[in-house]
């Protein structure tokens, strides 16, 4: 382990990154779990229940590392923290809506997560590097699944195309919020070799735009010097704790059982 890297990027900056990563996973995992018992077909019901477990498991990985550098316990972070102290993007807060929106959101998220993890795999902070490697192995199959559905539903029938395009229209500006820069991002870029959010977003666009376009789905981007650029306003706010009201009700729901008897041992 390169200990100077840890010193260079303050633990405050590392903690901000770890909690943001965890919160995106935890909140999307909760949204995915809302499909349990309600998916359009049994196989997808099980697939999304699996996804939910996986994403929440990833949140636990990040929160455990956060605890090891002086943060609160994962249980405290999930069940005792105030909703307006989370730092997840707005994108993962929105209600699950219909299956088209769910599939598009999952695809945009999985692709973003993969690109972020590939970058974190190069981190000079060993625990993050190891976690990224481990999570990537699982995330690969999330992406194959959600991408498989996008590729098939985009142009399958008139109705599936219309609903997928509506989902893309709603989800795309929100999804740019996954790349809202962290407050202490500069420290991490300098200290642990992390790529800046803008660079991750550029790589992500290079991945998702051609796939959506070949699935006949259009999004507000243009190409300049061989790179895709988003031409809509990104929906920011989550990283600075400016949230949508949807997060408040989600967190209340998520914490409801725990709050009945906070001292209980599970």
């Amino acid at each position: 382990m390169n200990s100077s890297a840890h010193l260079n990027s303050s633990s405050e900056a590392l903690s901000e990154l770890l909690v943001a990563l965890a919160d995106d996973e935890l909140i999307l995992g909760h949204r995915d779990s809302e499909w349990t018992g309600h998916s359009p077909i049994l196989e997808e019901d099980i697939a999304f229940s699996n996804l939910a477990q996986d994403e929440i498991g990833h949140a636990l990985v990040w929160l455990s590392i956060n605890e090891s550098i002086g943060g609160k316990s994962p249980d405290w972070m999930g069940f005792e923290r105030k909703w307006n102290d989370f730092t997840c993007s707005h994108f993962v807060q929105y209600p699950k809506h219909d299956y088209a929106y769910t599939v598009v959101r999952q695809f945009l998220f999985d692709a973003a997560e993969r690109i972020r993890l590939q970058s974190l795999k190069q981190s000079s902070f060993q625990p993050i590097k190891e976690a990224a490697k481990k999570i990537l192995r699982e995330e690969h199959y999330h992406l194959l699944h959600s991408q498989g559905l996008v590729e098939r539903l985009g142009g399958a029938t008139e109705e599936s195309h219309r609903r997928m395009q509506e989902a893309v229209d709603a989800a795309f500006p929100q999804s740019l919020g996954l790349f809202e820069p962290l407050v202490h991002e500069g420290d991490l870029v300098k200290g642990s070799g992390m790529k800046p959010s803008s660079e991750l977003q550029e790589e992500w666009l290079g991945y998702v735009v051609p796939i959506l376009e070949s699935a006949t789905l259009l999004l507000p981007t243009k190409k300049s010097n061989g790179k895709f650029i988003a031409v809509c306003a990104p929906e920011y706010g989550g990283r600075s704790k400016q949230h949508t009201p949807h997060l408040q009700s989600l967190v209340a729901d998520m914490q409801s059982v725990y709050q009945i008897a906070p001292e209980s041992k599970w």
């Binding site: 077909i41 049994l42 196989e43 099980i46 697939a47 699996n50 199959y141 194959l144 699944h145 498989g148 559905l149 098939r152």
Partner: protein, 92 residues
């Protein structure tokens, strides 16, 4: 219009060299997605090194009504290998 996806029979192998065993079926739009569905349904808890999926309608099968297909109407017990026992080790 029938909007139901086709079914695929799923065969699961727990270890290299072991036979693929039929474990159930999944609905899927095509073979590739059927593998993903099968992974989620059957490979998360069982040990697994390989999965096969086969479109259910590509399986040619006997008819339960045709009982004679398997009937042994005359005594053929002389064919049964019952004079010796195969040790379990043979199967491992």
């Amino acid at each position: 219009m029938d909007t139901q996806w086709e079914t695929y029979e799923v065969f699961h192998q727990s270890k290299r060299g072991e036979p693929h065993e039929h474990v159930g079926a999944v609905h899927a739009p095509d073979p590739q997605m059927a593998l993903h569905m099968a992974r989620d349904q059957f490979a998360r808890r069982l040990n697994c090194v390989s999965i096969w999926v086969v479109r259910s309608k590509d399986v040619t099968m006997t008819d339960y009504q045709d009982g004679d297909f398997f009937a042994r109407t005359t005594d053929k017990s002389y064919r049964d290998p019952k004079a010796f026992e195969a040790p379990d080790k043979l199967h491992k």
